[in-house]
C-alpha cells in the first residue's frame, strides 16, 4: 500500500512542482512544498496503519472542561 502512496506522490510532485519551478513562482513553490510534505506524511502513516492522533479529542476535552459534560 505504501508503495502506491509513494508512487502517487512522486507523480503529483512532478505535476505540481515542475510548472511552478519553470515559472519561478518561489513563494507558491515553498508553500505548496510544505503542504505536500504534511499531506505525504499523513498519507504514508495511514497507509502503514499508524494511528494519526485526531484533534477532535483534545477539542472535546477543552469544551467539556469549560461547559461540563
Amino acid at each position: 500500500m505504501f508503495v502506491l502512496v509513494i508512487a502517487g506522490y512522486v507523480l503529483l510532485g512532478i505535476y505540481e512542482f515542475v510548472p511552478l519551478n519553470k515559472e519561478k513562482r518561489w513563494k507558491e513553490f515553498y508553500v505548496n512544498l510544505a503542504l505536500y510534505l504534511v499531506s505525504f506524511v499523513m498519507a504514508f502513516m495511514i497507509s502503514v496503519n499508524v494511528k494519526v492522533p485526531s484533534p477532535a479529542k483534545p477539542i472535546e476535552e477543552v469544551i467539556y472542561s469549560i461547559f461540563g459534560r
Binding site: 505540481e16 508553500v31 505548496n32 505536500y36 495511514i46 484533534p55 477532535a56 477539542i59 461547559f67
Partner: protein
Amino acid sequence: MVKITDKEAICIMVLFLLGSSIVIGMGTGVKNDAWIAGLLGLVLFIPFAFVYARIQSIYEGRDLFEISKLVFGKIPGTIITVLYTWYSLHLGAMVLRNFGEFVTITALYDTPLIVILLSFSVIIIAAARSGIEVIGRISTYALPLVIFILIFMEVISIRQMKFNYIKPVFVSGFQRIAAAGFSAFSFPFAESVLFLGVFYSLKSKNSPYKVIVTGTLISGAILITLTLVNIFILGPMVDDFYFPSYSSFGRIQIGNFLQKMEGMISVSYAITCFIKTSICLFVACKGIASVFGLDDYGVAAIQTGLIMAYFAFIVYENTVEMVNWALKVYSYYAVPFQILFPLLVWVAAEIKNRGKGKHGRRADKK
C-alpha cells in the same frame, strides 16, 4: 475580479446550508419537537445573518481575511485568518466524513472509507480549483434538481405519514428544545459565516443582505419541512436513526413498482455535500493564500483537498463518535467562529467606518 450573480450566490448558499442536514436532520435529541428546534435555530440566526451581511457590505469586494487584516491590523488579522482557515478545513473534513459514513453504511459496505473519501475529494478539488463562478454555475443547475427530488419524495410519501405523530407538542420541555435550537443554529445555519470568504465576488453592496436572508429562508423552509416529514413518517423513533431522511424515504411504497426510493435522497445528499465541501475547501485555500501572500489560491487546492480527505479519515474513530461530536461538542466549538469573531469584526468595522465618515466630512468642510 471574478463576479457571481445574486441568483448563483443564493443557489450556492441554499445547497451549502442543506449540506449534511438533508440526511442527518437538525435539532436532533428532542424527538417530535425537532421542527420547533429547527424553527428556533432559524429565528436565532436571522440577526446574525444581518451581521454577516453588514460586514460584507461595509467592505464590499473584500473577503473575510482582508477585512480582518484591515480592521485589526496585520498580526491579529493573520491570527483570525489562520483560525478561519482551520475552521473551514475542519468543517470540510467533518462534512466529508459524514458523507463517507453515509456511503459506507447505506451502499458500499466493503469499500474502505479512505477510498470513498479520496474519490469524492477529487471532484471537490476540481471544483475549488475552478473557482467560485464554476461552483455558482453548477449550483444553479443542481438546486432545482435537489428541490424537485425533495418535493417529489415528500408528495409520494404522504401515504406513509401519520400526522398525529407530531403530538404531543413541547413534550421535551423548553430547556431541551432551546438546547436543540442552539444546535440547529450552529449546524447548519451559522456555518454560513464561511460565506464571508466567498461574497467578495458579489456584484452590488446590497447583494449580501439579499443573498444571506433569501438563502437562509429557503434552506430553513426546506429543512423544517423535511424534519416535519421525518417526524410524520418515523414518529418518536426519529432520533434512533443516524440518517432519518434516508430511513423515512426508504419506507415509501406505492404499488409494487414505486418503492425503495431512498437512493434519490442519496443523490441529493451527494450534490449538497459536494457544494458544501467545495466551499469549505475554497475558503481554506483562500485563507492559506492570504496568510502566505500568494497571488493564486488554486496552487494550494490539491494538497489542501488531500489533507482534508486524510483529516476526514482520522477525525473520528467510528459513527457513534461522529454523531456524539456533532450533537454535544460542535455547537460550543463553533461559538467563537460563528458568534464571537463576527461580532468583534462587525463592531470594529462600524467604529472604523464611522470614524472614516467623520474625517471625510471634516475634510470636506475645510
